[in-house]
């Protein structure tokens, strides 16, 4: 046994060793900041729950992420459903429309939305040109901008688990329901949706976890106005220079993600149980 280990240690050791040095140990350092900066104690954690500003940031993050999750999963469900069961031409179109945005950088995608949604952007100009509105509607530098941009970024991430859940659905079950006289709506709501429920829950959890740690898109589309947790951490680190609060929030974010990951793990097991 020890002989085997010696030979394979050269393969297995380098990467974990590097990560312990530059990731795990520094994480402990960050965690230490949260208990010692500016003074020793749980002060920063108390602040997370009592400070008015921090609390509003946390609540806004939870709310925006919930809206983004519902929007992304709904769009992704329609996309996956047509990707798996739709006619071949539509399947190919969907494949490109999911893959192309997926491979394009988060910066470019947020920038595209900025061009569309700004006060003198394409949408407002078009609406004013046709006389539907007289003054531009504010769609960036507020929550709306973040919600649109984040949903756009996260749809592909929800499509992949949903499409894989739908591919596992036996098409003959749907044909049987159809053969027994069920209409399209009835098949969809009583057969397709329940059979893909673990996929829906999985996709929703993945999107939510991604969304709460999200930073670039809200920073560009909300422009420092309706700040969410990740951007708040950045601001605390580089502008307010309150390292303790930044660390405490990072640790809390980590705890939430771990908890959601645990739930996800249970759901995947449930999936196997029922599959």
């Amino acid at each position: 046994m020890s002989n085997t280990w010696g030979r394979y240690a050269i393969l297995l050791a380098p990467l974990p060793l590097l990560l312990v040095l530059v990731y795990v140990l520094p994480f402990l350092g960050v965690a230490k900041w949260s208990f010692t900066d500016p003074e020793v104690g749980l002060g920063q954690y108390v602040r997370v729950f009592t400070d008015e500003t921090v609390r509003s940031v946390v609540i806004r993050t939870a709310r925006v992420c919930a809206i983004v999750t519902i929007a992304s999963v709904t769009l992704a469900y329609a996309i996956s459903y047509n990707w798996v069961f739709g006619p071949p031409g539509r399947q190919r179109l969907i494949e490109y429309c999911v893959l192309i945005p997926f491979w394009i950088s988060v910066l470019i995608r947020a920038f595209g939305w900025l061009i569309l949604l700004r006060n003198n952007g394409i949408i407002n100009s078009a609406l004013m040109d046709i006389g539907l509105i007289s003054r531009p509607i504010t769609m960036v530098r507020n929550e709306f901008g973040s919600i649109v941009g984040m949903t756009h970024f996260l749809v592909p991430f929800a499509v992949f688990p949903l499409a894989s859940a739908m591919r596992q659905v036996d098409a003959r079950v749907l044909q049987a329901a159809s053969g027994l006289g069920a209409g399209r709506m009835r098949i969809f709501w009583t057969v397709t949706v329940p059979m893909t429920l673990p996929g829906i829950i999985g996709a929703a959890l993945i999107v939510y976890v991604f969304a709460i740690g999200f930073f670039i898109t809200p920073a560009i589309l909300s422009g420092g106005r309706s700040v969410m947790v990740a951007e708040f951490i950045y601001l605390q680190l580089f502008q307010t220079v309150n390292w303790g609060l930044a660390s405490a929030l990072s640790v809390m974010l980590l705890v939430v993600v771990v908890l959601l990951g645990f739930v996800l793990h249970k759901v995947v097991r449930l999936d196997k149980l029922f599959g």
Binding site: V22, P101, I104, G213
Partner: protein, 278 residues
């Protein structure tokens, strides 16, 4: 056959409408950048009948763009090489040794992938600011520091890609090689890795792309000295939006679309050839 006549188990018109709206939603921000990049104005605007290539020209004449593109390419190549090397070593180790210990190591290795980017960013920021006096070549706001940050973020993804390829390699070819007298290293270099070469290429490619467009961690670990392309775009997007960002975005989007189309054409041609041969 009754199925085709009824067809009620297939998506109907309502889901088709929703899906076309979703498609417009997905493509709209990418398409919107194209006209703006041809504006003749100095500020971000629609062309209004007057088209110009001045912002594409600026990418070549204004040195900040050329410098940041070159820097991102260099960092991407180095980070991808290191990530791929680490991922291949660890992936092989995991392929040979599957026990509780190696699986625990794998869980550790995937941490940076499941962590929110902002948490990774603050961790690497902590590491690199404390290295300023100890190891200045990988400290805050240095090229080495950015390479290190990108390696940490990209390696788990490279590893997943390599592991998928490796799982398709038959373990018995390694046993056969070893049984015929090859050492562990001979078997790895002459038998296992050549069979997983596409996995290695994909892993390197993915690691390069992740480094090339990395911004979250980069924002935390750079300030003025090291300006990668995404960092330059970020700077130009904050207050007075530079239309050159639209020009570079259009170029990058075009490359992505061309790459995806080329891949599909190659795949389609190979499939056609295989059909002919069969």
């Amino acid at each position: 056959m009754a199925k085709q006549q009824l067809g009620t188990d297939k998506p109907g018109w309502m889901s088709a409408v929703i899906v076309y709206i979703a498609i417009i939603f997905l493509l709209m921000p990418l398409v919107a950048i194209v006209p703006v990049s041809f504006t003749a104005q100095r500020f971000l605007s629609m062309p209004e009948g007057e088209y110009s290539l001045r912002h594409y020209q600026a990418l070549f004449t204004n040195p900040i763009w050329g410098q940041s593109i070159r820097l991102s390419l260099i960092i991407g190549v180095i980070a991808s090489a290191i990530s791929t090397f680490l991922a291949v070593l660890f992936g092989l180790g995991l392929w040979y040794v599957r026990n509780r210990f190696s699986i625990a190591l794998a869980a550790l290795v995937f941490l940076p992938m499941v962590m929110p980017p902002v948490v990774s960013a603050i961790i690497i920021y902590f590491f690199e600011t404390s290295m300023v006096d100890v190891m200045p070549w990988i400290a805050f706001d240095t090229v080495g520091g950015v390479v290190l940050g990108h390696v940490v973020v990209a390696t788990p993804f490279a590893l997943v890609t390599f592991l998928v390829a490796l799982s398709r390699v038959d373990k018995r070819i390694d046993m056969a090689a070893r049984g015929l007298g090859a050492s562990l290293w001979q078997s790895i270099f002459w038998v296992v890795l050549p069979n997983a070469r596409f996995g290695i290429i994909s892993a390197a490619f993915l690691a390069f792309i992740l480094s090339w467009e990395e911004i979250a961690v980069t924002l935390f670990i750079t300030s003025f000295n090291v300006v990668t392309l995404p960092r330059q775009m970020w700077n130009g997007m904050r207050d007075n939006i530079d239309p050159a960002i639209a020009a570079i975005s259009v170029i990058l989007i075009s490359i992505t679309v061309l790459a995806i189309l080329t891949r599909d054409i190659l795949r389609w041609r190979n499939a056609a050839r295989a059909r002919k041969a069969g």
